[in-house]
């Protein structure tokens, strides 16, 4: 009799102890004090997607740099992030903690389509900015009316797919195309954009489209064999890094030599393609992709002022990080944009004020305030019903182990100055 009684009392004591550490009382505007602005975000530091772990490190480096230069209107940025292991259930609980206990001013750069989908409604209900989500899923830009507190940042997958479609129409009008795409929203966004870019006339150029599931335990050998059998002379890869590299290697193993290979920008980074080449693939050379940021692993950008600034920041504020990893530069570039938007929102910061600024951004070379870490000429622009912050990209081609820019910037999303 007494033991169960003791057990329950002991358990409740533990619960009470846990409860005691309630958060601080919220100031006038949550997350903002005279001295600081609290920004928080969730990232996969463990589990299958932990490859993206460098992004928040890069953001932290830029925020430290900005703080050292006087911060934002006299306030220092307090940047905190936690591991959700790419499991939406964790993302939801951690985001509740950010909002209800830590009283963060804004949730910044949350990574992963599904995790951010899981918290979008909650953040909008509580009127907390879901700023610059780290996912290219089109819904985060397109559905701004339904979710006013949510805004994307990087070029969305559908727009990028459309650019590849336009490229094929312009340069490979009678190519036979074999597509390997991931059967989740990531792959579907790319494929939908690609077909839109091809427009009705060229749909028939796609001779086969093979789906691949990320949770599958064997490489896409079967799919690649079918693409080879279809006689496609142009291979299009819309998959995350691991299956993309495996596709390159299996292609060579099967003796498949497509004339052209187009690969989505997420997987077409120098480190990943080097791995494909080292693993013996001989169809990597000549890969077509797109880019919108400077590429630290590519020596041709070393002379750019943005690259010099990036290397200084990383050396000083994130010495242990690998500065050649494009994910770090992605973090720094996004953090730059966050600081610009915070400055523009003025000294009496409010969440609504922040979103208003983010809805009307215009950082362009013309006004001498373009994002220094983006490719020269890339504009960060949002206005009324055009809520695609970065929608310009430049075609790049992988020539002797380096992505060479090919011609001028292309606008993925309709008319743009």
């Amino acid at each position: 009799m007494r033991k169960t009684f003791l057990l329950v009392v002991a358990a409740l004591a533990v619960a009470a102890a846990v409860g005691a550490t309630a958060g601080a009382r919220p100031a006038a505007t949550p997350g903002v004090t005279a001295k600081s602005i609290l920004l928080e975000g969730t990232y996969p530091l463990s589990g299958p997607a932990s490859g993206y772990a460098p992004i928040p490190v890069g953001m932290g480096a830029y925020f430290s740099y900005a703080n050292a230069k006087g911060g934002v209107n006299g306030r220092k940025i307090n940047w905190k992030y936690e591991d959700d292991g790419y499991n939406p259930a964790n993302t939801v609980q951690i985001t509740h903690k950010f909002v209800e206990q830590d009283h963060a001013f804004a949730i910044v750069g949350g990574l992963g389509t599904e995790p951010q989908l899981a918290v979008r409604q909650y953040l909008n209900d509580n009127k907390v900015p879901q700023l610059f989500v780290a996912t290219g899923a089109t819904t985060f830009d397109r559905d701004y009316a339904q979710y006013p507190w949510t805004i994307g940042w990087q070029p969305d997958y559908e727009a990028e797919g459309a650019i590849y479609g336009k490229y094929v129409v312009a340069n490979l009008p009678n190519a036979k195309i074999g597509v390997l795409y991931q059967n989740d929203d990531y792959g579907h966004d790319y494929l939908r954009g690609f077909k839109a870019g091809l427009r009705a006339a060229h749909q028939s150029q796609i001779v086969t489209a093979q789906a691949y599931d990320l949770s599958a335990t064997t490489p896409p050998a079967v799919q690649m064999a079918k693409i080879k059998a279809s006689g496609a002379d142009t291979l299009v890869l819309f998959a995350t890094p691991t299956p993309t590299i495996q596709a390159y290697v299996i292609g060579t193993k099967l003796g498949y030599k497509p004339a052209n290979v187009i690969t989505n920008s997420v997987s077409a980074t120098d480190p990943f393609l080097t791995i494909a080449e080292k693993s013996g693939s001989n169809i990597v050379e000549g890969t077509i992709s797109v880019g919108y940021l400077l590429d630290p692993s590519n020596p041709i950008y070393n002379k750019q002022p943005g690259m010099k600034l990036y290397r200084q920041i990383m050396a000083k504020y994130a010495p242990k990080a690998n500065a050649n990893d494009p994910l770090n530069l992605y973090g720094v570039a996004k953090a730059w944009n966050v600081v610009q938007v915070l400055k523009a929102a003025g000294p009496n910061l409010t969440r609504a004020g922040l979103m208003a600024v983010a809805r009307k951004m215009n950082y362009s070379p013309g006004d001498k305030n373009a994002n220094p870490f983006a490719l020269p000429g890339v504009v960060t622009f949002t206005h009324n019903n055009f809520q695609y912050p970065i929608s310009q990209v430049t075609l790049v081609k992988y020539v002797n182990h380096v992505f060479q820019p090919q011609g001028k910037l292309l606008a993925g999303r309709g008319a743009l100055r």
Binding site: T217, A221, I245
Partner: protein, 294 residues
């Protein structure tokens, strides 16, 4: 016809990986009646060690391959003596949870020490393939199959012909009788874990070139190794290898020729086969049903 042979060789290569890991599971189960859920992560961790020894994967070195086998052996034995032995008397639940704790720790440690980034792992075999009658047989597949089978053969010779190997087999069958003959039973359990860890290292190093080195690379392979071990019967080493090979070939054939088995259904299909086999033969194809006298 061409794709049939290609699928067959890939299937045999995959199968040899599942088989070697399944054999490692059987080695530990026969000696300690514990299913080692951390077998996959032990293989992954030792593969990272090999990667570090090979100058962060710059080029494949055979000396590093054998050095890793040695380290894996010692590491496996040490793990048994420190983590598993104190729980020898505990319940099956505690034993299962101990190996799961090991799984989580090793996974976290690998990401912590070597970063979760995708890494290249060199293969000892060229990625080109022989072309025989229009069929592309990848040298890597044949090499993988060869290396894994060679290691399994060495292990078989050890168990069959050496005194220590015989003692380990006897210890697994009847530990108390073996101790009465002067066999140090707890040493043998450590040896069992050592061999299992070394086998895991072999399968890890052979599969890394295709699935690339990440802290989670072995999780998928482990599930198929479980299926192979059960298919063959947890008691029989021969069954584990046969189970692995047949599963590898079956999955590749299904993927190639049966339309609805798209990539996400490969796993459920494999597990369905597993359940069906177990319903017919609860001790697996080669296992023997132990009649228990009270």
């Amino acid at each position: 016809m061409q794709t049939f042979f290609q699928t067959l060789t890939t299937g045999l290569a995959d199968g040899s990986i599942y088989g070697s890991l399944a054999l490692a599971l059987v080695l530990i189960y026969k000696a300690t009646e514990v299913i080692n859920f951390a077998q996959g992560e032990m293989a992954m961790f030792t593969t990272y060690i090999a990667w570090a020894l090979m100058g962060h994967g710059s080029s494949f070195e055979w000396w590093a391959f054998f050095a890793t086998l040695g380290i894996a052996f010692v590491g496996g034995a040490a793990l048994q003596q420190t983590v598993i032995r104190p729980l020898e008397r505990a319940s099956v639940l505690t034993a299962v949870m101990a190996t799961i704790a090991l799984l989580v720790i090793l996974n976290g440690l690998a990401a912590w020490i070597w970063s979760p980034q995708l890494q290249f792992f060199p293969s000892p075999f060229p990625t080109s393939s022989w072309v025989i009658g229009g069929v592309h047989i990848s040298k890597q597949d044949v090499g993988t199959f060869g290396v894994v089978m060679a290691c399994v053969l060495v292990l078989w010779l050890f168990f069959r012909f050496t005194k220590l190997g015989l003692a380990m087999r006897a210890g697994a069958l009847n530990p108390s009788a073996a101790r009465l003959m002067g066999v140090r039973a707890s040493w043998l359990l450590a040896l069992g874990w050592g061999f299992a860890a070394a086998l895991g290292a072999v399968s890890g190093m052979m599969v890394a070139p295709t699935v690339f080195l990440t802290p989670n690379m072995m999780q998928a392979v482990l599930i198929y190794a479980f299926a192979a071990a059960i298919l063959g019967g947890l008691e029989s080493p021969v069954g584990a290898i046969a189970g692995g090979l047949s599963l590898g070939v079956l999955l590749n054939m299904l993927g190639q020729y049966v339309h609805p088995v798209t990539s996400e259904l490969q796993l459920p299909v494999a597990l369905a086969i597993l359940l069906v086999v177990l319903l017919i033969k609860p001790a697996g194809l080669f296992g023997r049903v132990v009649v228990k006298r009270v």
